[in-house]
Every structure is written in C-alpha cells, then in structure tokens.
C-alpha cells in the first residue's frame, strides 16, 4: 500500500499536465531540445519468444506531446513493443524508461502514468458503462469517482450511454469507452494498439478528432496500426516496423525526405486551372504537373513538407485562381513503407 501511495505522489498533477500542454503546442521537430524532453526512451530492446525474435534492437526517444505511430504489417512486432512499453511484458534485453520509471524495476509506477488500450479494448460486456469506469476509478483510488466518470464519458462523447450495458454498444462506442477508461486517471501517456481497427469511416474520423483533442490536453499518444492511411494525417511521427526491426522512424516529413519520396498533391480549382498550373510549375520542389480533368491537377512534389504551406499560400492568393482543394494523396506513406520493406528505398 505504501508503494502505491508513493507512486500516486509521483503521478503528474493537473497543473503539470498543463505545462506539458504548452510544450506540446509546438510540434516536435526532432531538435536536441525536444529529444532531451523524451517521455519514452528505449535502449537496445529485444524480445524473444523461444527461438522467435519478436522485436530487435529497438532504440526510441519519443518526446512529450507526440502522436507517435508504429506502423507495419501483422507480425511486425508492434503489439509486442506496445506491451513492453506498457510494462506488461519484460524485454529479453535492453531497458525501457517511461516517464522516468523503468518498466522492469517499477512496473506499477509505469502503470500509474499510462493508459493502455489493447487491440480488443478489454471491456466487460455485462457491466454498465458507468460501472465499468467506476471499477477502474476505484482501483486507481480516485477521490471523486463520480466526477471522474462524468468527465471521462464527456471526453469521448458517451454521456448519453452512461447507463447502457457495455455489451450493447457499437464497436465505435466500445472503442471510445475503452479510451475513456484509459484516460480516467489522467495519465501522461496513452498506448493504443490498433485503435482504428474495424471501425467504420465515421468512427475513424471521430477517433482522429478524439486523439487530437487528447494531444491538445497534453497527452503523449502512441498508436499502432497496419493501415498507414489511418494514421498518416494526424500522427506527428512514425516508426515503420518489419520483422521485429524498426526500418525507419522520424517525423512524417523526415521519413518522406529520407526516402526520396515524391508526394503527389491533388489540387482542385473552380476557375483558373491554367494559371494554377503555371504557378505550380515554377514553384520550388515541384517536379511535374499533370492535368487530370477540368478542375483537377496532380502535382509531383519532392520538396519538404514545410514547403507545402507556402505552396498552398501561393495558390490561394493567386489572381484568377479559385482554390477549393489542396491535399496529399492518401497512401503515400504506404508506398514508402512498401518500398522500404522491399529494399527499394534506403
């Protein structure tokens, strides 16, 4: 009991979370300052199951406030990595430091600081939503459980389902309830294993919104997925994994740059297609512009992601051009991953 209390004392207070929030407002850019504020540090982590090596040579430094994605095919080692980060399994070799606690030496200290969403959500179907949250609020020893439940349900917009049995919820709602459970004790770090798996497009959009909201509240979020397009438009950094090894990592821009990837931008205008084409052709980083139809251009772009806002500004302010669409074609990161995993990219 004394240990528990001690761990509770070390847990972040709300004002600390706000301080973190300020830091999180600036997107991590991989600078030394950001690296020094690493929430997660892993060194030489390796996990073996008998003869099978599930994860090897994993070195990570994940700053606070990130939405960090582990991406890779089934069996790449994503879930094992997350379970090691959650102090649910021990690494065979190496060390993992979460929020200043070693996952092997102080697993309970780690548990107090994180919320973990397993791939099957971990719900009890025969409890009501509030009972489910009350159970965890009670185990975490929260003083005002009633308010904690109300707040957690409000965060995931499940207030109206408070008295429903968990077993009657849709998959999207179940997932949100599980996230409410993850955040009920106000952890610094959320580990979400395949959170978007099996969700319909609407539920995915809601999930994205929810995760962005949580990031704004100062949470650091680690997600895993085997579907890159689920994550690429809202995660700040990505680690591509294959066969237990991390084959690439960094911010999405860095990964794109290092892989020599050419993004495809889709530009849609109501008027001034030719003018837009001319502007784009002269813009830095643009390698080619192709007209797809009367309103749409596809742009081969090899510049940095930081150059994209300037490109957008040029089009939006150009005379005679009525810009209505400007986005990267989905699946670009998937293309990189496929190339990296097949050895095409270095």
């Amino acid at each position: 009991m004394a240990d528990d209390q001690g761990a509770a004392d070390e847990a972040p207070r709300p004002n600390e979370a706000e301080a973190v929030d300020d830091e999180a407002a600036t997107p991590p850019d991989g600078t030394p300052a950001a690296a020094a504020d690493a929430l997660i540090t892993t060194t030489g982590v390796r996990k073996e199951y008998g003869d099978v090596v599930a994860v090897r040579d994993l070195d990570l430094r994940i700053p606070r406030g990130e939405i960090y994605a582990f991406v890779g095919p089934n069996g790449a080692g994503k879930t094992t990595t997350l379970r090691m980060l959650a102090a649910l399994i021990e690494p065979t070799e190496g060390t993992i430091d979460i929020c200043g606690s070693d996952t092997v030496k102080d697993p309970r200290g780690v548990h107090r600081r994180i919320g973990f969403l397993p791939d099957f959500f971990g719900l009890y179907d025969d409890l009501k939503c509030w009972e489910y949250l009350d159970y965890f609020a009670d185990t975490y020893g929260l003083a005002d459980r009633e308010n904690a439940i109300i707040e957690a349900l409000a965060k995931v917009e499940l207030d109206v389902k408070r008295d429903e049995l968990v077993g009657t919820l849709s998959r999207g709602m179940r997932q949100r309830l599980a996230i409410a459970r993850c955040v009920i004790h106000d952890p610094e770090l959320l580990l979400l294993d395949e959170p978007a798996s099996g969700l319909d497009p609407k539920a995915r959009i809601e999930l994205r919104k929810l995760l962005r909201g949580l990031q704004k509240q100062g949470k650091t979020i680690i997600v895993s997925s085997h579907i890159l397009s689920e994550l690429s438009d809202f995660c700040t950094s990505v680690a591509l994994m294959e066969k237990g090894r991390m084959i690439e990592s960094g911010t999405i821009g860095e990964v794109l740059e290092r892989s020599g990837h050419k993004s495809v931008l889709v530009v849609t205008v109501l008027d001034g297609l030719d003018a837009a084409r001319g502007i784009l052709a002269d813009a830095p980083g643009v390698e080619g512009v192709e007209r797809k139809d009367e309103e749409t251009l596809e742009v081969a772009y090899s510049g940095s992601r930081e150059g994209l806002p300037e490109l957008h500004r040029l089009l939006a302010t150009a005379e005679g051009v009525r810009l209505v669409g400007f986005h990267e074609r989905a699946g670009d990161i998937e293309d990189i991953f496929l190339r990296l995993s097949s050895g095409e990219a270095s």
């Binding site: 528990d4 761990a7 379970r83 649910l88 548990h111 971990g122 025969d126 159970y135 185990t139 975490y140």
Partner: protein
Amino acid sequence: MAGGGESLARLLVHNPELIRNLRSGLRPLKAILLGVAVLGACSFNLIVNFAAQMPPRYLQRNITPEEIAEALTISFFICLSVQLFLVQLGGLLLAAASVAGERELKTWDVQRMSPASALSMASGKLIGAPAVVWLMVIAALPAQALCVMGGGVSLNTLAQGAALVVSGSLLYGSLGLAFSSGVENRRNATVTAFLAAVIFGAFSLVGLGASEAWPLAGLNPGIVIFGMTGEAARQFAPPLFRAGRFFGLETGMVWPSIVWECAVSAAFIAGAMRLMRDRETTLWSKRQAYIIYGVVGLVCTGSCWPWALGLAWLKSTTAVVLAVSMCVVALIMAFAITPPHAKARDWLRHAPAGGRDPRDWLWGERSPALLAMGVVWVILACVLAVTAGLWRAIGASLAAALGLFPAALLLAICATAVRKNGKVLAFGIMFAWCFCSGIFAAVVDSEEVAEACIPFFLAGAVMSEGYDDAVLASLMGGTVLWGFVALVMVATWRGQIARLRRVASRRAGG
C-alpha cells in the same frame, strides 16, 4: 489493529474487483429470480426427502418428537450436502474460469494495468466469481433453518455446517483460482483444476478413514450424491460417509479440519498471486495439458472424473470410442475380479432389485419407477445432445446406463461449462436429478430404487462383492484404461502412430 481492520475491509468489502464481480454476476432481476428458484427448489427437495425418510410404519401411529427430529436431522444434512456440493464444485468451476476467462476475453491486461494488488484481485475473484453459488447457498438457508427449529439439529451443528461451507468454498475456490492464474483459457483451467482436485479426492478412496488429512477428499462426488439420496443410499455407503466431510461432524473434528483447510487455501491463494504477478507465465500449453490429463488419469484411477472430463474434452467421435471401450473394459475388469462362482449371486445381490429376479424388476410392480427413470435419462441425454453435441450425449448416456451417473453428470457440467449459460444448465441438471431421486425414494419407498437412481460410481463396484473389491477393481480398471488413454493422447500428438506405420511398412517391404 485499526490499520489491519481497514485493510481487511478493503479486501472483503470495499474491493473493486469484488464489486465488479458482484455487479456483473448478480444483476438484480437475475439474482432475485435465481434466489427464489433456489429457495423453492430447496424447500421442495426438503419436503420430498423428509417424506422419503418417513417409513409407512410411522404414519400408522403417533409420531414422537424424537422421530421428527431424527428425520429433520437427516434433511438438514441433505441440505448441507447440497450446499457443500454447490460451493465445492460450483466454486471450483467459477473460480477456475475467472483469471483464465479474463485472459481469453483480453481483459486481463487491462486489469494488470490497474494498481490493484494481487491480493485484492485474488480475494475479489475468490469471493465474487462464485457469487451465483453464494446466492444459492444463502437461498437454501431458510429451509435449513426449519430443520433447526424443528429440533434435532443444534445451533452448534448449524454453525459447524456453515463454517464447513465457507471453508469448502475457500478451499476449492482457491484451487480453481490457482489453476486459472496459470493457464490461458477457461477450458484448460477448468479441466486441470478438476483433475487436480481429483488427485486429492483419490486419497479419500485409498485412505479411507483418514480423509481428514486430505482436505479435498470431500469433493468425491459419490459422497455428496449419497447424501442427497437420503437414508436409502446412506446405508449403502458408510465407508464413503466416513471418508467424507461428515466424518468431522460426527467426531468433533470440524474445527481442526476447517483450520487445516484454510491453511491449504492460503497456500493456493499465494500460488495464484504469484502466477498473477508473473507477466508471462502459463503453466502449460494445450498440448502439454493432454499429456497431463493422461498422467493424472493414471494417478486418479478409481474415479470417474477423468473419464467424464476426458469425454468432454476430446473430440466427439474419439469420445464415443473411448466411452464404449471404457465401458467394455470396466465390465471385463469387474467380472474378472469377482470369482466366477460368485458372479451370479453377486449380480443378484447388488442388482437394483435387491436380489429379486431381474424379470420382476423389469416388468413387475416397479416398472413405473423404472420407466420414469428411463424418461429422466432420455431428458438428460436430450439436454446433453442440444448443449454438448449428439456424440457426447451418446457417450454420456452409455456411461449413465452402466451406472456411472456421476460421470454423466460431470460430463454435462464440463461440456456445458464452455458454452454460454452452460453453468446454469449444469446446475439445473444437478437439481433435476436430486428431485428425481428424492421423488423415487418417496414414491416407491425403496432403498433399491434409490440405489438404481444413483448407482455406484463405478461399474466394477456394482458388480463386485464389497467396497474394497470395488476400489481394487476401479484401481485396476482405471489404471489400464487411463494408461491406454494417455498413450493414445501422446501418440496422437506426436504423430507417432503414423510414424510407426511407416516404419512397419518399410520393414515389411524390406
């Protein structure tokens, strides 16, 4: 002291895990309906059995208070045996499904992430998981109280009985919990926990008269079944009564026995906690479990449990083949152990008709009872067919037809345990059988029919001369049978049969 009391309250009252289990296990409507049903069932069982204890001669003259007290005493022990059976078997089953069930449903990781201590989780599951069973026990108390008020049962005996129920629940629940904490799925946990209980229970057969040294001996189903059939079966099984937990009540050994049981429970709970803390422990895989079943089967000869569990576990056609082969071998062993000249005499003496010509038994005055018994078997077989599949039902029916009722019963429990609402169904079957046996005993006023309803739990026992012979027969038969089963399991697993065939064909070719 205050701190200790607070910690105890935290474990036993304000325990989140306990509250969660109670919330999910006892939704108000379900709890009320179940409580009312059990109360009604127990009262009905009490009345029927009470009537069964009253020989007609009592009804032809004035009944003395002593006679009423005696009948009520017997009824009290019938109730107690039902309660013990519920908490032991039900507690074991439900506790075994607890942690392993959480692993299966992927909620275990979430629980482990919470700061709840292993002790808190263990105590919460131990008390909370068998909540339904506790409700049944509580619902039976009014009927039991009637026996105390009617005389014959002292408050001290009532307290001892209650203590036995609690310690029995703790003992079997902790055993189930320990196994549940070490395996990955409910079926594996349930079966291995039962088999582990059988290891202990086996000593009640081998070490008759010294069973207080083996706390788990009371799980032997024969003891409970005999208790439930009432006086008629009681005279048939004095050794079993001595071997069981009633021994303590008769000799004043209850409290030491309870202390001993609590100590064993503490060891099991400590084991469960260790396994809970361990992050990647699984005691054995499914394949290894097959081997363990074979080995345990060898150790636990003389009990029908491995048989029933094996049938429930194995695939359908294999189960039927094993059931038939076991029946045949059991019959051969039973006849082999009895000298040829005594076979006919023994058969008649131990046949349900109690020495009458079997033809009279079949077509005589007792045929309605027999017919009713057949109907019950058919109903049981149908229930099994629906819940556990046709082939298992056939196997179970075969077992029942050979007088292996507990085997069929446990098969029903095990087979249904892995299905939705299977536990409720299994308890339903149990109660149905209790009522039927009580009704038979009351209606036909016959010890023999009661024996026929609940025959001995081994074919060999029915056919041999005495109890010692029965134990010997079952030991020998069981050893051979389970040795065979173990070999088949191991050989199948390793693909050795196919390999041996290839070797044999090469040799034949060479």
